[in-house]
């Protein structure tokens, strides 16, 4: 049995998350990944924005920073540029990272700065009571889309890939072992790493859209996930409404802080 307690601030429990929320499964996967990598707690700086998932840093015994809505990546960029020896993990959600924080998201990926982003995608604004988000599927209901959303959605992983991230993976809470492995690889990667995590919100999304129990929502993820290798053999019609999971990007690309260090070193010699 893995000892989660060694990384937790147990006096801050119980968690703020609703019963049936997927975020706790991500938290446990993350802690196993940290342990597997042998990271020291002092060496980890965890930065989050605003939303349900962004409350996670309060529960873990690292250097933790809970910032303003959408801006976690900007604070994290400051920390990484100032102290590159720290392992900087960013916790964010679909609304936090790609609505209010969309500009920072694409620019952090463009810089390919060495941050590991765990993006909890629950397709809704859970904390504020279920408003429509950039990933709420067309036709799905939210408190601010009472007749169903009429907007197109973001492909969050595709966005990071297009902007220049060196590692992008998509997984879901139905597969915590895969999730743990992707988090390990994301942290190991020198550069901007995204793990997009499908984490169901039974309270604000599931009830309104008649998605069933939390278990039903996780089962839906499992049944509708298509591994990236298999997805290439399917037509766009067959992939409609499916979740393509797996490691989507794993490339070598120059990293922002390392490039800046080269400049410092070059000027010191001249």
């Amino acid at each position: 049995m893995f000892n989660y307690d060694q990384y937790l601030r147990l006096d801050k429990f119980p968690l703020i998350w609703c019963s049936g929320c997927g975020d706790g499964i991500v938290l446990k996967s993350l802690l196993r990944a940290v342990h597997k990598l042998g990271l020291q707690k002092d060496q980890i700086c965890m930065v989050s924005g605003i939303g349900c998932s962004s409350r996670l840093p309060g529960y873990v015994d690292f250097n933790t920073l809970h910032t303003t809505h959408g801006r976690a990546l900007t604070f994290a960029t400051g920390i990484k540029m100032a102290r590159p020896e720290l392992t900087v993990l960013v916790i964010t959600g679909d609304g936090d990272a790609t609505a209010i924080g969309g500009n920072h998201y694409i620019h952090a990926a463009r810089r390919n700065i060495d941050l590991t982003v765990l993006l909890f995608n629950n397709h809704i604004y859970g904390m504020t009571g279920g408003q429509v988000s950039p990933t709420t599927a067309k036709g799905k209901k939210a408190s601010t889309a009472p007749y169903g959303s009429f907007e197109n959605t973001f492909n969050i992983s595709g966005l990071a890939q297009a902007a220049g991230a060196s590692f992008v993976a998509r997984s879901g809470v139905y597969n915590p072992v895969q999730l743990e492995n992707y988090i390990v690889k994301a942290i190991q990667k020198k550069g901007f790493s995204l793990v997009e995590i499908m984490s169901p919100c039974p309270t604000a999304y599931g009830r309104r859209n008649r998605e069933g129990t939390p278990v039903d929502m996780i089962a839906w993820q499992k049944e509708n996930s298509v591994p990236v290798a298999k997805a290439g053999q399917l037509t766009p019609e067959e992939l409609e409404g499916k979740l393509i999971t797996g490691i989507l990007v794993d490339i070598e690309r120059s990293e922002c802080r390392a490039e800046y260090q080269k400049l410092i070193d070059r000027l010191a010699q001249s």
Partner: protein
């Protein structure tokens, strides 16, 4: 370090002196976004900071710039950004974060005409109230206003010292004239500059409270990664730094945030009295308008009028006591500023009707002329 940086007597603009002052203060992290009339600060630092082993990064906007300097400060760097009115507006939410989470940092605003895009290349002093109340909620703030290139250097150093001493964001208000005017400056040598650094905790990590209600009101601060693992949030928090909804804790926090500035206001507030010893007509001004005011005082004195200038160097907290001290002798006050009367309003409040207050307000992009002020003095008879 370039040769130019080592020369002590130099001709600099206010923007260049600001960048040099920041380097002398130990600033090693700059994040910013280009905006007229402040961009030269970023340009100097883009060249200089990597030579000092420091970090320069141009962010995607001013919101990001403010976030980055807060992150860098928490990681142990003295950090700053520079902007002008529109960018200053974008920074406000995170300035409030820095005030609430008590993160030392310096924000330079080279003021230009507003509102909105306004007058990018023309001067203004219209951000007095934005500096004080731009972010939401009750919060203390420190804002400094130099009036010369040399003083821009020294007050930039002071801005960092106050930020570190009181764990607070400090705003440095320049204006377009000051940012771009060239003046001869004798820069102090490195050893001649008194530098203040944040107070480190004596407590071991297990007893460290990052928001302890200390007597001074300022909790000791340790950087991330030094073995003290703690939590920082913009939510109302208790001494441990974790969110709380308890009324008694919230009140204690907000009271301490204000107390740490208010009980040290005599250390923070600086004014310069010029020909005020026997003055019956008192001018109050700051920044480049204070240069015109000083000239007007000289012209008035030549004409036999007992005029003087109380020049504001610390705009916030407001120097109300320093103005009130002249209340019985100064018969008439003139407030000269490049806006529609933001400073005059504050002076009226400070004096509570003890003396009449006359206004010289220019807000059309022109600088204030000494003759405009002199005419106002002459009209008082």
């Amino acid at each position: 370090m370039s040769n130019a940086s080592q020369q002590r007597v130099r001709v600099l603009t206010g923007n260049e002196a600001c960048a040099e002052g920041a380097l002398a203060a130990g600033m090693r992290f700059y994040a910013g976004y280009p905006i007229t009339p402040s961009s030269e600060i970023a340009e100097v630092l883009a060249e200089q900071l990597p030579r000092y082993g420091g970090v320069f990064i141009q962010m995607e906007d001013e919101i990001a710039s403010m976030g980055a300097i807060i992150g860098a400060s928490l990681a142990g760097s003295k950090a700053m950004t520079a902007t002008s009115g529109p960018g200053f507006s974008l920074m406000q939410e995170n300035i409030g974060y820095a005030a609430m989470a008590e993160v030392p940092c310096v924000i330079v605003n080279v003021m230009r005409g507003g509102p909105s895009t306004g007058l990018p290349t023309l001067p203004s002093q219209g951000d007095i109230m934005q500096a004080r109340w731009g972010t939401h909620g009750d919060h203390p703030i420190i804002a400094l206003t130099p009036f010369s290139v040399a003083e821009t250097f020294s007050l930039t150093v002071r801005a960092f010292n106050l930020a570190e001493q009181y764990r607070t964001p400090v705003i440095l208000l320049l204006d377009e004239i000051l940012g771009h005017v060239n003046e001869k400056v004798e820069l102090p040598k490195d050893g001649e500059i008194a530098l203040v650094n944040r107070t480190l905790p004596h407590d071991p990590p297990e007893r460290y409270l990052p928001y302890r209600h200390t007597e001074s009101g300022v909790p000791p601060m340790v950087s991330f990664g030094q073995g003290y693992r703690y939590h920082v949030t913009g939510l109302a928090h208790d001494e441990s730094g974790f969110p709380t909804n308890r009324a008694s804790e919230i009140e204690k926090l907000l009271d301490r945030l204000h107390r740490k500035i208010e009980q040290n206001r005599d250390h923070i507030v600086e004014v310069e009295a010029y020909e005020m010893e026997d003055a019956e007509i008192g001018l109050i001004s700051f920044g480049s308008s204070a240069r015109a005011s000083r000239h007007a005082v000289r012209l008035a004195r030549e004409a036999g009028k007992k005029a003087g200038l109380l020049r504001i160097k610390t705009l916030w907290p407001f120097p109300d006591q320093e103005i009130q001290a002249y209340g019985d002798r100064v018969k008439k006050w003139i407030v000269a500023e490049m806006n529609r009367g933001q400073l005059a309003h504050e002076v009226e409040w400070a004096l509570c009707g003890r003396a009449p207050i006359h206004r010289v307000t220019v807000y059309n992009g022109d600088p204030i002329s000494p003759l405009t002020i002199l005419n106002r003095i002459n009209q008082l008879d």
